[in-house]
């Protein structure tokens, strides 16, 4: 937390204006002791030319000078690097929040003790299903048990603990059970994201969720969000979950409903750093096409502040959108969702079929979308393959009238420097249907409600609820602190 009590990772307008790399996700080694079917970086062996200890410590000092407030160490498996606690110690010496995201295999007592002694503050552990499914996806029998054990022991040692779950075709039905288990393990924060067609996941494309399955997934996530709140587990949606459907108001503000998805900010307040010193605007993005430079060749500050490559790949305006996204009501506010998701799947950002609003809109026309692999990915970290996007009638539903859109041909990524920056658009929330609308709307384009009337009714509800809360708080305070007034008569 910072001095104001806010999480270190929250962005302010000042961060955006000053180009502060608030959060750095740093793959300190590609060595890994798991064999995950969905691993985008194809981790396993260390890269042949990973940064030395001295180079890593220098990176930390440079990030501190740039104002970084949180560093997440990842791998591969971060603790397979012999000097990992030295890096943690240096991060903490600069007052930067430090956590490790891990698979949890062989996170021994010795490793935990060393991490705590070095000042590690948080541990995030990946949990991808019940034991059998988790172990199968992670490629190592017993890995589920070790992951849960790591969470429990880390919590007991005083670390903040969170879980990450990658949602694939087989995971979906097990999400309620995962919530039960991680809540029992004392986890307080749960980040969920969709499995992305990158690296090993292209080889195992049967694990990918189909876009049309968001119709089933999103209501389930909304239900789990409320269940989590009751269990003390705060659900957070990763960048590739959304966008702008009837549950968008739940995903971005940790309870503050006015918050909504804003366009990809790769390279604006986040750095992704590969273990050989390659700098990217987001840790998830492909190296090819998105690498801004290498800290061995240029000072980190220079790459961060001046490399156009960190920005060139993402969508900068509606002009870069294509397919369904180009004509979408939310085009300017969304810009195609997660760059990584669309680029990995279709070779170009700006058209993202993994969108709840899109799924619902297509459903109104009796249509759905699915993806089909057409080309494997090369055998290297962060490699992408090729997928075709098929739009088809929903089985069992009357055939759609009109044309059935074909996927647009692949082409190169937009390759131009960022346009002049500005604050992202801020939408209003229709209080009748909980969908976001442009602030100049009078009637909700989604449900037809009079937006002003719906807002007035909602404000009245808020006042009534606030009154009840205040009354209950006053009664409890009276009972705790004051003498109970004597009965008269």
């Amino acid at each position: 937390m910072d001095a104001a009590g806010e999480p270190a990772r929250l962005n302010s307008a000042a961060d955006l204006l000053a180009r502060v790399p608030v959060h750095v996700v740093w793959e300190i080694t590609l060595a890994c002791n798991l064999k995950c079917q969905h691993c985008g970086s194809r981790a396993g062996r260390p890269r042949p030319d990973e940064l030395t200890t001295a180079e890593c410590l220098d990176v930390v000092r440079r990030l501190a000078r740039l104002g970084t407030r949180e560093i997440t160490l990842i791998g591969g498996e971060a603790y397979l690097r012999s000097d990992w606690t030295e890096i943690v110690r240096e991060i903490r010496r600069h007052g930067i929040y430090c956590a490790v995201q891990t698979g949890g295999r062989n996170f021994t007592e010795r490793r935990l003790a060393a991490a705590v002694a070095a000042g590690l503050q948080g541990l995030g552990v990946s949990i991808d299903g019940p034991p059998e499914l988790h172990d199968r996806l992670r490629g190592v029998p017993g890995s589920y048990a070790m992951a849960i054990d790591a969470l429990v022991r880390a919590k007991a040692a005083g670390l903040r603990t969170s879980a990450n779950t990658t949602i694939g075709r087989q995971t979906l039905e097990h999400l309620p059970a995962i919530l039960e288990r991680i809540a029992a393990a004392g986890v307080t924060h749960w980040q969920l994201q969709l499995t992305v067609a990158m690296g090993n996941a292209v080889d195992h494309d049967d694990i990918l969720l189909q876009p049309y399955q968001l119709r089933e997934l999103m209501p389930l996530l909304a239900d789990l969000y409320h269940q989590g709140m009751d269990r003390g587990v705060l659900l957070m949606m990763g960048n590739n979950v959304g966008y702008f459907g009837p549950y968008e108001h739940l995903w971005r503000g940790h309870g503050a409903e006015a918050e909504h998805w804003t366009p990809c900010t790769a390279g604006q307040t986040v750095i992704g750093l590969e273990s050989d010193g390659t700098l990217k605007g987001c840790p998830s993005l492909a190296t090819e096409g998105y690498a801004g430079g290498n800290v061995r060749n240029l000072p980190l500050e220079e790459i961060w502040l001046h490399s156009e490559r960190l920005h060139a790949g993402r969508v900068h305006s509606v002009e870069d959108l294509w397919g369904f996204c180009r004509g979408c009501y939310y085009a300017e506010a969304c810009r195609g969702g997660c760059t990584w998701m669309a680029d990995s799947l279709l070779g170009r950002p700006g058209n993202n079929p993994y969108c709840h609003y899109r799924v619902l809109e297509l459903e109104k026309r009796g249509l759905r979308e699915r993806v089909v692999k057409t080309k494997d990915a090369p055998d290297r970290a962060f490699a992408i393959g090729e997928f075709a996007l098929v739009t088809e009638p929903i089985p069992g539903v009357a055939a759609a009238r009109g044309t059935v859109a074909a996927a647009e041909p692949r082409s190169g990524r937009p390759d131009r420097p960022p346009a002049a920056g500005g604050p992202p658009p801020i939408l209003a929330l229709c209080r009748a249907c909980d969908c976001f609308v442009w602030p100049d709307e009078v009637a909700c384009p989604h449900c037809g409600a009079d937006l002003a009337a719906a807002a007035a009714a909602w404000e009245e509800d808020v006042r009534r609820r606030a009154g009840l809360v205040a009354e209950l708080e006053r009664l409890m305070e009276d009972a705790r602190s004051g003498p109970i007034p004597a009965a008269v008569g």
Partner: protein, 62 residues
């Protein structure tokens, strides 16, 4: 304006985030009240038991 910013899938959740908003507040207060009532109910039950014991004792001496 303060925003949570991006949540890159390779990173961990924002572990310092605290749930906010009307619903979270209402649930927190409801939980407090339920705990208070449960404690009060338990204590009240125990007190009534003691009262009953005393009354029974008093009656037996009559």
């Amino acid at each position: 304006m303060v925003r949570s910013g991006p949540l890159p899938p390779y990173g961990e959740a924002i572990q310092q985030a605290v749930a906010s908003g009307d619903l979270a507040k209402m649930k927190a207060v409801a939980k407090d009240a339920e705990a208070f009532l449960a404690r009060a109910g338990t204590a009240l039950g125990a007190l009534k038991t003691e009262i009953a014991k005393l009354e029974k004792k008093g009656k037996s001496r009559k």
